[in-house]
């Protein structure tokens, strides 16, 4: 592993953005998002809080999450420079790497439909020069070195759960507080709640095709395990497969490069996204096969359905970094199991699961009050839907009405799940 690394001194950076322009000079204009960005620790300029800047691009991690989790094997490690390089021709534009990287390094280019990112200015490195950004910092805050460092101590406050050994040394603030000021200038109601600029890269609205895809898949999985599809008429079978195909089509809608979707299963070894697509394919195939050779495939379908739902939930893990508990009532496995219980008519088990999920939601709402202010209507609707489903069950209403009520409730929950996801960005990194 090469020792090439950035050095960033928080004491010296004043947010001038010369590094950003230097990057553009070297790598071309980055119309959508600059590869290197400067982030302020205090965006609303709250006078009571200190303010410092972070200049971040790719830190070329030793254990690079983008590379590990890319389903299409579109990243590689350069042996010469240690740089993590993106291979544009391999990229399917799924943006999954943008959920994985703790430093917000991969940037999606909507014009090209693929990811772009910092290359460590590899050609400059091989030429004995520093990366363009590091050689252009007017205050000397951003620098580059090839000397050996102990990477385990390099960036304590930028460490993330799956510590990826980034190639950067951060020099911490020697004086952490801001200047002393006359606080009386900033008293009164107007100053009590400085705005928080939190806009997640992921939301139900932006990701609706994926939302519907994973939702349909969860229901199909529950349905298939319940054994009810054995009883399906030809029409029912067509609907089952039709839904599967619709889901499959939806899942490709967000891809920047749809014709390369076949690449999404190339990284089964490491990427949950590859596994999800693979299990989905197997699941659908086995279900079709089953109609020709009944009974023989039952258990293998059950296992595949389970693995499929687990894969879905696992692949959303990195976008749950702000959650205090990693269990969400709208997760795929829970939807599938609830559907299964309902379809099997295990009303007691169904009720217990639904009540448990309700408590999970209330608890989440309690500890996440900020994020929830927007979703309050969904929260209430979700509670209502659960009790309405119980109500319909209790009074023996037609079963289709129960299912409709159940599905609406689950869709609300899954929507809330998406709205609560947050892909990493530098802002949330600083807050840690």
């Amino acid at each position: 592993m090469s020792n090439n690394h950035f050095i960033f001194d928080k004491n010296k950076c004043v947010g001038c953005e010369a590094c950003v322009v230097a990057c553009v000079n070297e790598n071309g204009f980055q119309a959508h998002q600059q590869w290197r960005t400067i982030t302020s620790s205090n965006q609303a300029k709250n006078p009571r809080l200190p303010l410092f800047y972070l200049s971040m691009a790719c830190n070329h991690c030793e254990d690079a999450p983008c590379m590990n989790h890319c389903p299409a094997l579109a990243f590689r490690r350069s042996e010469e420079s240690g740089a993590v390089l993106h291979i544009s021709n391999n990229c399917i534009g799924c943006k999954y790497c943008t959920w994985q990287c703790p430093y917000d390094a991969p940037k999606y280019n909507p014009l090209l439909g693929v990811i772009e990112k910092c290359t460590f200015c590899e050609s400059r490195l091989l030429d004995g020069q520093k990366p363009s950004c590091a050689s252009s910092c007017p205050t000397g805050a951003l620098d580059f070195s090839t000397e050996e460092v102990d990477k385990s101590i390099v960036m304590p406050d930028l460490a993330v759960t799956n510590y990826p050994n980034p190639s950067i040394v951060i020099k911490e603030l020697e004086k952490e507080s801001g200047p002393r000021i006359d606080n009386s200038l900033f008293e009164g109601a107007a100053f009590e709640k400085p705005l928080k600029k939190e806009e997640s890269k992921i939301s139900a609205l932006k990701e609706w095709p994926l939302l519907i895809f994973t939702f349909i898949v969860s229901l199909l999985a529950g349905f298939s395990v319940s054994g009810r599809n054995d009883e399906l008429s030809l029409k029912g079978k067509i609907i089952f497969i039709g839904l599967g195909i619709i889901a499959a089509v939806l899942s490709t809608l967000h891809l920047g490069k749809k014709l390369r979707m076949w690449r999404s299963v190339l990284n089964v070894q490491r990427s949950w996204l590859s596994r999800e697509i693979l299990f989905f394919g197997i699941f659908l195939g086995l279900n079709v096969l089953q109609w020709f050779i009944p009974d023989t495939l039952k258990w293998i379908i059950h296992i595949t359905a389970g693995l499929l739902c687990i894969s879905i939930d696992m692949l959303y893990q990195p976008a749950q970094r702000n959650w205090q508990i990693k269990l969400h009532s709208g997760q795929s496995v829970l939807i599938a199991v609830s559907a299964l219980m309902l379809l099997q008519n295990f009303i007691v088990a169904f009720s217990i699961i639904m009540i448990a999920r309700l408590f999970l939601m209330i608890y989440r709402n309690h500890i996440h009050s900020n994020k929830f202010t927007k979703g309050n209507a969904g929260f209430l609707l979700r509670i209502l839907s659960i009790f309405f489903t119980f109500f319909l069950l209790q009074l023996g209403y037609p079963v289709w009405l129960v299912y409709v009520s159940f599905i609406i409730g689950e869709l609300i929950d899954r929507t809330m799940f998406y709205n609560e996801l947050s892909a990493p960005d530098i802002g949330s990194l600083i807050k840690k």
């Binding site: 004043v14 001038c16 300029k45 007017p138 200047p179």
Partner: protein
């Protein structure tokens, strides 16, 4: 690939040296030039944007003529014929003073002198006097210290107390942040005094946020406390200062309570500041240029400078009054701010138009009235105060020529636009008002399209005007690179230390440089001493001979009921005045014009964050997006300087044409406005 040394010729403190790489005639990279010890790490965001700017698709590459409201390409032949016909006609019909020659600070260099030569040959013209930037502070400093010079930038590392008073080097002089940080590392204290909380103040020990325009009374209150506690440097004062007694007595009239109320700084902070200045030496006091662009700017500067004087922080290592360092202006005959005054001995020029009051004065000029304007290196429509008046004055003219690189708001007012060179397309010698170097801006690529440097435009125009050949030869270099080198050498030859070949190697320290300014304790004032009491201040400018606090004309400290908010229009890191904002790279970082507002002022007006608002006063209005700034003191709004009318947000639509109390500076920071919700009409 070839590498050249060059220097940024913008109107900026840093005046960075940098290296450019040229590949097949094309500029491909910009890199640091560590030989300049003041800017060793390389240029800022703007300097790095030169590659894009130089090859911008928006550059004017051919002469353009307005026909039916649209600009059409014309040949140089037609352009020069048209202009010379007009010039001949106006001279004959109304006299040469009916032509206004307007040049500003768009690009510095010795060759700019050629323009004046041409207009002298023409028989003179009307020119503007004064300056948009710094003369009130320059004059205040000249009256007090005799000269404008300060210690070399790296000497700041030796300071134990640094006061950034109204200066935000993180954005306007980023290389100064390096010695500040080094000084802090060796134990120096950093105090920032600024109504805004800027990136320069984040690592400071103390940030005082006075009301804009009240810095003078804050400084006097501090001076009073220093003297009261006997913390002033009596030995230094006795030997080198004139008027200390009078100054000291005048402070009796300053009440601490009144001062505190006037400037909005609590008494305990004023006491702390006095204690710091009185006890920590050496102190470097670094005033910015924004403060002196108020109606009281000159006197305010004298009040601040008094603190450096009474504490004996002049002429020693780590201590100076860090306003402007004109030591590298070795070729200027008149270095000091007198160069901005109307002088009697430059007869061909009529100086009837102060740049501070450009629009109004152009309209009022009679005998003869102005018929034509020639604008180069400037963008008066957005950069001079009271844009609506300036536009009115330009539209009243018969004929306007603008030499420009881009279609600025001023260029759009032209009848003929002539394409201007960039810094890479003609060599020139550039001084700095901050660092101590004389530098060469090298020609590194041929002008694209039909671009011609100004000297060449004037040469051809002079021929068209049929000026005598020998006179042209004396006044304008021939249009080739060798003639330019020869022209520059004629200046360099005065100094053994300077030559083109040396300057090509990198920056050269200015001949006669004093690293520690005034270390010989000689002051070029009438008394030979530092003059706290200045007769000249009174005889030239009619102000009190002592530094005094004068309340603002417009910003009456919250007493303006119709327009209760004071408008600040500071510079931003993203632009030099109106330059660079049109680069895509810069736009990506600074996409829309905004007005910064305290949430307290906004909520009272039911204005939400990111809402479109109207900022207005009797002079004009701007529709602009509001951004809450929680760190801004209530009662103030901020729109940074340099937005174009074309993109919206030009603060000079709201400013008043008004001269500063001294130096013929421009008091366009003394502005009151109101903000309300924007209603679509």
């Amino acid at each position: 690939m070839q590498t050249f040394n060059t220097v940024c010729p913008r109107n900026c403190y840093s005046t960075c040296s940098f290296k450019v790489k040229i590949d097949s005639g094309r500029l491909v990279s910009i890199e640091a030039q560590p030989l300049n010890q003041s800017t060793p790490e390389g240029p800022c965001i703007k300097g790095l944007s030169y590659i894009e700017r130089n090859y911008s698709k928006d550059r004017v590459l051919y002469p353009l003529q307005k026909q039916n409201g649209k600009f059409e390409r014309i040949s140089w032949e037609v352009a020069l014929d048209t202009i010379s016909e007009k010039l001949k006609y106006y001279k004959q019909a109304f006299g040469s003073h009916s032509v206004l020659f307007y040049a500003a600070s768009g690009m510095s260099g010795l060759l700019n002198g050629v323009s004046s030569n041409f207009w002298r040959m023409y028989g003179g013209a009307t020119t503007v006097y004064g300056n948009l930037c710094w003369p009130a502070g320059l004059e205040a400093t000249r009256l007090t210290l005799g000269e404008n010079k300060h210690n070399i930038p790296t000497d700041l590392e030796n300071a134990k107390l640094i006061i950034l008073w109204g200066k935000n080097p993180a954005e306007s002089n980023i290389h100064q942040m390096v010695p500040i940080e080094k000084a802090q590392r060796s134990g120096a204290k950093l105090i920032v005094i600024d109504p805004r909380r800027t990136p320069s103040s984040e690592r400071a020990d103390l940030l005082l946020q006075p009301k804009p325009g009240t810095d003078g009374i804050l400084a006097l209150a501090v001076a009073k406390l220093i003297i009261k506690s006997k913390l002033h440097d009596t030995e230094f004062i006795q030997k080198h200062v004139l008027g200390f007694e009078e100054f000291s007595q005048s402070l009796d009239e300053i009440s601490l309570d009144v001062a505190s109320k006037e400037c909005g700084i609590p008494i305990h902070f004023i006491e702390e500041l006095a204690e710091l200045i009185g006890t920590i030496k050496p102190m470097t006091l670094i005033p910015g240029y924004g403060m002196q662009r108020y109606s009281n700017g000159g006197q305010t500067t004298r009040c601040l400078l008094a603190l450096s004087v009474i504490s004996g922080n002049i002429g020693i290592k780590g201590a100076c009054w860090h306003y402007a360092n004109l030591q590298s202006y070795v070729f200027d005959e008149v270095k000091e701010p007198q160069c901005y005054y109307p002088t009697e001995n430059d007869k061909p020029f009529r100086r009837s138009v102060p740049t501070a009051v450009l629009g109004e004065s152009m309209l009022e000029t009679k005998n003869p009235e102005l018929k034509m304007a020639w604008v180069e290196r400037g963008n008066p429509i957005t950069q001079n105060p009271d844009s609506n008046k300036t536009i009115e004055a330009f539209r009243k003219l018969d004929f306007v020529v603008v030499v420009e690189q881009f279609l600025t708001d001023t260029a759009l007012e032209a009848d003929i636009i002539l394409p201007a060179k960039t810094m890479f397309e003609q060599s020139d010698i550039v001084g700095s008002y901050w660092n101590p170097y004389v530098q060469l801006k090298q020609k590194v690529s041929e002008p694209p399209g039909e671009v011609k440097p100004e000297t060449e435009i004037y040469y051809h125009l002079a021929k068209k005007m049929e000026f005598p050949d020998d006179e042209i030869a004396r006044n304008i270099p021939e249009p080739d690179d060798k003639a330019i080198d020869k022209w520059l050498n004629s200046f360099l030859d005065q100094f053994d230390e300077l030559s083109l070949s040396k300057l090509k190697e990198g920056p050269v320290l200015a001949p006669g440089l004093e690293e520690i300014a005034f270390s010989n304790l000689k002051f070029n004032t009438p008394s030979g001493k530092i003059e706290l009491y200045s007769e000249e201040a009174n005889s030239i400018w009619g102000v009190n001979p002592l530094p005094t606090y004068e309340p603002l004309i417009e910003g009456q400290n919250g007493k303006n009921e119709k327009y209760p908010l004071s408008l600040m229009s500071p510079n931003t890191k993203n632009r030099i005045h109106s330059q660079f904002g049109n680069c895509d790279t810069i736009k990506a970082l600074d996409p829309v014009p905004v007005v910064l507002m305290s949430p307290k002022d906004a909520i009272g007006r039911e204005i939400t964050d990111n809402e479109k608002v109207k900022v207005f006063n009797d002079r004009g209005e701007i529709a602009i997006t509001v951004k809450y700034d929680y760190s801004l003191i209530p009662g103030n709004v901020v729109i940074v300087n340099g937005y174009w009318n074309q993109e919206g947000g030009n603060p000079n639509l709201l400013s008043k044409g008004r001269e500063t109390d001294m130096g013929h500076g421009t008091a366009f920071h003394d502005n009151m406005v109101e903000v309300e919700k924007f209603k679509q009409v």
